[in-house]
Point group: C2
Chain length 307, copies 2
Amino acid sequence: MSILVVGSVAFDTIATPSGRVTDILGGAATYFSLAASYFTEVRVVAVVGADFTSEHEAVLKNRKVDTRGIERTQGKTFRWGGQYLDNLNEAKTDFTELNVFEKFQPRIPKEYADSQFLFLANIHPSLQSAVRREMNGVRLTGGDTMNFWIQGTPKELAETLKLVNVLLINDTETKMLAGEKNLLRAAKKVIAMGPSALVVKHGEYGATIFFREGAFGLGAHPFRAPALPIDEVKDPTGAGDSFAGGFMGYIASQGEINREVLKRALFYGGVMGSFAVERFGTERLQNLTREEIDARFQIFRELTHLE
Amino acid sequence: MSILVVGSVAFDTIATPSGRVTDILGGAATYFSLAASYFTEVRVVAVVGADFTSEHEAVLKNRKVDTRGIERTQGKTFRWGGQYLDNLNEAKTDFTELNVFEKFQPRIPKEYADSQFLFLANIHPSLQSAVRREMNGVRLTGGDTMNFWIQGTPKELAETLKLVNVLLINDTETKMLAGEKNLLRAAKKVIAMGPSALVVKHGEYGATIFFREGAFGLGAHPFRAPALPIDEVKDPTGAGDSFAGGFMGYIASQGEINREVLKRALFYGGVMGSFAVERFGTERLQNLTREEIDARFQIFRELTHLE
């Protein structure tokens, strides 16, 4: 079933202990789309400038991602520059040039109106809410946010959280959003704000999904997927969005939404995140096969499976 | 089968966001013994001062721990004071009074000579090596160490590592010992130093066991056990030693040492660590039942188990 993602397309300048790249294709919507494209049909709503070429677009089209919702405007595409030093889990931002992204008003092509799944990548919560209201026929909405909105636009974010079924954020964001340092208590508080499920991404330690009691016909027991220890993390950029793409893409590929589907989705999220960090930018996500993905899923499963 | 632990018995003064306690029974050998006592026969070698009373000893004896190897000397028992502030994974030490522990020379009672398993808790690596050489008939030796020895006595520690089959340390210690920031590469370097297996404890994220290729008839694939998100961590003191006690105790309770046993042992380690932190000091470890332990083992298993 088709999934619509609304978010950023960007050009990233990244330095890590493994090297340095300039103005490579990135952005949450890009990573999400590529990761989800191995599971289901993906549609993108984003905005780019005149510097976004047909070669950039081909990266998405080659994975059969529907790019009709990528609006082209005067000006330059969103640019982000950052570096990862000792701690590969945390980027130090060098610069952020919003450019055309500053006035982004998501416009959903009418061909996208029948999308059954929706992912609201990390943009202003008011835009997330507007998109969600327009797409009021979707079966499941996933969403992301960040410290900037948690601290800067808490009221707008509170509205968005009431419209999102599954929120995907990291440990620090969860604790900040809840104003609570214990993860389990923080997760309960976040779920009380609206989402039926909360996926907390732990970086190299995997992810945990917490459920609202009774949501999806489920009990409140959390579930945790591990992450594979990786030999070399070349570039952590996009790992979280690739996780979200694998998670939402797998759910959208299944007929129903139940606990087992959500558990496997959490593993597939980890799998796609682990591929993403093996190369700079989107390189590794461009040329995977479903066989490679399923082989790594089995490794993840074995990693933590008791007979 | 019986397990011998050599390490510290201490009186701890601890402050956490949940409260404060003064001079309560602690020490690595204490936590280890109590945790392991639910699985197998445990024998302790340690040193205490005149302030160690029969009431303190009863905590161990009530769990049928053999205390004949606890040497009583003139002076005061080892004292440690520390606090946990925002980050419950990391203690800030307020004071360390080695007292009788400063001149600790482990003496192994002849009744302990037939112990089949050995755990060298965190003491000077030269003492660890001496004990291991004396107990040269054991089937499996586990060991712990810390940044103080990694940085202060690297040559002595290198000797110890050649005598230890399974080393149990945390992420930071692993990376420090290897001089390598990537966990997987660091684990490989540590295993090249001697141990057949390395257990890296991730605090609230569980633990990973890495194997030397071919050790225990195993391939080199790592295995990871998750940890349960806990509502309230009252006191993290002793979590790592309780983990080691559950891990080694379970192994000692089994007839053979193979991959499945080591995997389950990793889960039991996490289970005992999770109980330990629910109360201050050793309180929770004093009155468990094997049924409670196995019930939590099932929860841990379900936490990460795909159908």
